[in-house]
Amino acid sequence: MRMLAEQVRADLIAFARRPETLFFTVFLPVIFLVLFEAIFGDIEVSAGSDYALTQSTLQVPAFMAMGIVSACFVSLAITMVNRRETGLFKRVRGTPAPAWLLIAGQGVTSLMIGITMVVVMLLVGRIAYGVEVSVDRVPWLVLSVLIGAAVFSCLGMALASITPSSEAGPPLANLLVLPLYFVSGVFVPVASLPDWLSSAASVFPIAPFVKIITWPYDPAAPDIPWSSVLLLAAWGVLGLIVAARFFRWLPRRG
């Protein structure tokens, strides 16, 4: 445990001291939330329900989802690839540190970054836009964040395993998530997408994640979206299998 604590401490310091990762991972989703609130906040989305639900409310959990994906998938994958390709993993393999330490260390680090962002957005949403989540649904929000963080960490590890070089890390990770942000209910409400696009997007992991994390904020939403939870879990398992199958300690060159 002490080893893991030291690892997480070092990983957090390393993360916080790199301005570019700090900006893209942490600040960008928050900046996006503020911009989107300003631009689209007033749009009514509560068609046919008793509640007056605006886009303003739904954007808060949507950008929480972006924050989790940003920390646990994009940033985690890029970091893991970099450390492998610069020989850091190889170096650690020459010590008694167990194999799981680097993985668990980065997983916990990303989770902590993700949770921090969720809390920031929760507060920004509440203070600046009066967006609240009902108390009885808070446990579900917490659970959604944990499920999302676990699943996207597995997928991030999988992406890291199959990314060939440090240079390929950022473009590959962003290529995968940017289009999905548009079609999965983060940047654009799912309701305003053409049917074929929203049903295509619903297969990929960001859409079900947005759905479950949005649920506590939407009083009009029907029962807990268990099918989305299952789909998300399936993605997590797939990520785990790919990550384990293609994991490498040594850089590609040497």
Binding site: R2, M3, E6, Q7, R9, A10, I13, A14, R17, R18, R83, T86, G87, L88, K90, R91, V92, R93, G94, T95, P96, A97, P98, L101, L250, G254
Partner: protein, 307 residues
């Protein structure tokens, strides 16, 4: 079977890449507490051998025992007794020297105090500096510090001083000398003969995946036929006029070179001869071949591979 007192025992080690035997039946024993320099040209199989000993690579044949265990199967208790400095590696640039060592200390069961290691590798002034902002030599010393943090019995150093300026190299040598005083076994891969000469108890020269020569620096130097006497042929003296020496002299222009196994005798004859004629021998030198000469002769002519 490894004898008591042997840190590393390798017998018949083979590593194949495609149809090429990069390591081709290598035998080597490293004694506890000695500094062994592992020399060879690029492509001779140095790094491959080292990485098999460190447990990074598998082998195709042969037996290997490092601190009494097979590196291919040894676990974390075995790794806790090793210190490894890889040929290339980057510490986390954002962490300071002290933070880096503190992290690695957490990996080991009985680490040295971080400040003690900082002192050992001479980075006291840089302790609070980020690793990414250290000079090349300082980074390498941090690397060695990481290797020393777990109180290793055996340290692998793969070309640790490549790219160092002469000052940094000498400081680094002091660190290795300090290790020897602690009784640590050091397996030092290097390209620099002067480094091997200063630091090594024994030198192994690798050629085509095998140990081509093994011995103390003095023993290796003795392999090369002894001592060289050089002087200039005095004006008006023909080669045939020279006294009879234990070995036939080589003549190139006016320069005479005699490679002799009996330098005292030959010098006495030569000086007596010159003295009797009132001749002063120009540019008279007596030299043992350097380890570098020996290395070049043993390691083979792969000059193009050095580029």
């Amino acid at each position: 079977m490894p004898a008591v007192g042997d840190a590393i025992v390798v017998e018949g080690l083979v590593k194949r890449y495609g149809d090429r035997d990069v390591v081709a039946g290598l035998d080597l024993t490293v004694r506890e507490g000695e500094v062994l320099a592992f020399l060879g040209r690029n492509g001779a199989g140095k790094t491959t051998t080292t990485e098999i000993l460190e447990g990074y690579r598998t082998r195709d044949a042969g037996t290997v025992s490092v601190l009494g265990e097979d590196p291919a199967e040894a676990g974390s208790a075995w790794r806790a007794k090793l210190g490894i400095v890889l040929q290339e590696s980057q510490p986390l640039g954002a962490l300071t020297v002290r933070e880096t060592l503190r992290l690695y200390a957490a990996y080991f069961p009985h680490p040295r105090p971080v400040d003690e290691v900082i002192g050992l590798v001479g980075l006291a002034e840089q302790a609070g500096q980020r690793a990414g902002r250290l000079s090349g030599g300082q980074k390498r010393r941090l690397d060695v510090g990481i290797a020393l943090i777990g109180r290793p019995e055996l340290v692998f150093l793969d070309e640790p001083t490549t790219g160092f300026d002469p000052d940094a190299r000498r400081q680094f040598w002091d660190v290795i000398q300090g290790l020897r005083e602690l009784g640590t076994t050091v397996f030092l891969t290097t390209h620099y003969m002067d480094e091997a000469q200063v630091l090594a108890d024994r030198v192994a020269v690798l050629r085509d995946g095998k140990v081509a020569a093994l011995g103390t620096p003095a023993e290796l130097q003795a392999l090369r036929g002894g001592v060289e006497i050089r002087f200039e042929l005095p004006p008006g003296v023909a080669a045939a006029d020279l006294p009879v020496l234990s070995a036939a002299p080589d003549l190139a222009g006016g320069a005479v070179r005699v490679e002799t196994g009996a330098p005292t005798h030959d010098l006495a004859v030569l000086c007596g001869w010159a003295e009797a004629r009132g001749i002063e021998l120009g540019n008279l030198t007596v030299e043992r071949p350097t380890l570098e000469d020996v290395f070049l002769a043993i390691a083979g002519d792969h000059a193009e591979a050095e580029a």
